[in-house]
Structure formats: structure tokens, C-alpha cells
Symmetry: C2
């Protein structure tokens, strides 16, 4: 089985696939009498139609090594995963070649970071590594299926770096 | 000083002010081969113009008893607070009488729950009670100030129920 080693999530490495949402560096503005740092507008929300909505996902916890047998994409909109626990989670993405996902990669998002998949980017399903497995998800609310799935002919095995 | 006792957050009690976002009851749909429950579109996102954006707030931790000396509101849009730690936080809201905030109330949102203030609802600033103090905030990204603040002539003291 082909092995994928996890890698640390960085904005640069993740840029081809989406946004890393983090409160790092200088805030956009200090609010609430200096008690709160605001880092504004960190994700490219991009919807063909419909509108942004907030949903909650409650997922089973996954473990490494993890067998990756499929990825999916949403042609009509971006999708942000925001962990509601202060725990790392895994983010799987892949490139695209003529409609086929290629070269999957696995990132470990550290505590306090969230991600936003850009529209139509191949990605794995939500893979929390720790309880509670709750995530807020900001994605397109609208009609149509907005889902394309791809089953790999041979699954990959994701292992810790 | 007038005392406000905290109360448990329930969708019913919070309905005049906004939405409680929680993964309770039957999910909207099971996804990811039955591994993930999706509770869809839990918040009324309502913007006069501009568009939804995702920001991160990093706030100082607050403690009870808490002196409430001001509230604020956003005339141009709703605002959701999503805790990125699996910890309760405090949510302060108030009614409105001819442009003046009245009858402030303090709710304790339990672990795993988030809230969305409806547009133009008087509310307190973000008041996490536990580390890490990170919240994802879904609100309007657009021009103009979109902020009205009100300083109470006499502050309130918020105490545990």
C-alpha cells in the first residue's frame, strides 16, 4: 500500500488547497478595550449560488495509521472545518488532473487552527484525531448535490511523519 | 449594584436574541459512510450588505462575578461566536426599548455549543470563562462601522446562579 506521511500544516504548503485560519502574528484590530484580538476575514468563502451557512458536524474519532480510500469535492462551494475542541485534527487534500484526484497529502492542523477548502478542491472527509469530534462547518447552503466522490483503485496508508 | 444571575442556555430562552448552535437530537443527515452526523444550517446569517466572513477572536479570559458596564450591537449584521475549545462560555444579551438596552441577561453556553446573535441585538463582548479563549466568529465583512455601544449609567454584577 502506498504510504503518505503526515506533515505539519502551514499556510504556504496548504495554499494550493485552501486557507489556514489561525490567530498568529499581529491581529487585524484590537477590540473590547484591548481585551480581544480580532483576526479578520481569514477564509475565502466562494459559492456559486445559495449562501453561507453554519452547521455542526459530530464525527467519529479516527486513528493513525489511517487507510485513505476516497476523497470528495464540492463543485459549488468552499468548506471550512472549525474544531470546537482545542485539539489537532487531520486534513487530507489532493491535486486534480483531468478530474482525477492525484498526489494526496495529509496535514496535521495544530490546536487552535482551522482550515477552509477552496471550492472544488479534492479533500478527505472530516478526520478528528481526538474527542470531542465536534466541528463547526461553514459551507454553501443551497440546492443540488454539490458533491463528487472518488474511490481510489488502491487505497493509501497515512502514517505519522 | 444590580445583580444578574447566570442562567442555562436554552434555544427557547435565547430565541428572542438569536440561535443556539448545537448537535442535539436527530441530525439533518448522516454523512461519510455513517461516521459523521451533520446538523445543517443552524444560524440565521443576516447581513444588510457585504458578505459572511470567518474571523478568529483571541480573548482574555473573564471570571465571575463579572461587572457588566456596556453592551453593543451590530446594525448591519448577525454575529456568531463558535468556541474553539471544548469549554463553556458566557453570553450576555439585552432587550431594546427605544434604542436603549434593557433587562440584560447572562447565559452560560455549555461545552460544544455556539451561538449566533441576530442582527442588531444588544449583546456583551465575548466573555470566555476558560482557556484557550479562541473563537471563530462568523459575521459581516463590509464597509461602515456596524457598531453601536451603550454604557450603562450603573453597571450590573453578573453572578453564578
Amino acid at each position: 500500500m502506498k504510504v503518505i506521511k503526515t506533515q505539519a500544516l502551514t499556510a504556504q504548503a496548504f495554499a494550493p488547497f485552501g486557507d489556514v485560519l489561525t490567530a498568529a502574528g499581529d491581529p487585524t484590530v484590537m477590540i473590547n478595550q484591548g481585551m480581544c484580538a480580532r483576526y479578520s476575514d481569514l477564509a475565502e468563502l466562494d459559492f456559486s449560488d445559495g449562501q453561507a451557512g453554519i452547521s455542526i458536524f459530530k464525527s467519529e474519532i479516527r486513528t493513525l495509521p489511517y487507510e485513505l480510500d476516497m476523497v470528495e469535492r464540492h463543485p459549488d462551494g468552499s468548506q471550512a472545518f472549525i474544531p470546537m475542541g482545542n485539539q489537532p485534527f487531520m486534513v487530507v487534500v489532493a491535486g486534480d488532473q483531468d478530474g482525477i484526484p492525484v498526489n494526496p497529502q495529509a496535514f496535521i492542523a495544530p490546536k487552535g487552527q482551522a482550515i477552509n477548502f477552496h471550492r472544488n478542491i479534492w479533500h478527505g472527509v472530516l478526520t478528528p484525531l481526538h474527542e470531542p469530534g465536534f466541528f463547526a462547518v461553514i459551507d454553501r447552503i443551497g440546492g443540488g448535490e454539490n458533491l463528487e466522490e472518488y474511490i481510489f483503485k488502491a487505497p493509501y496508508l497515512i502514517q505519522n511523519e
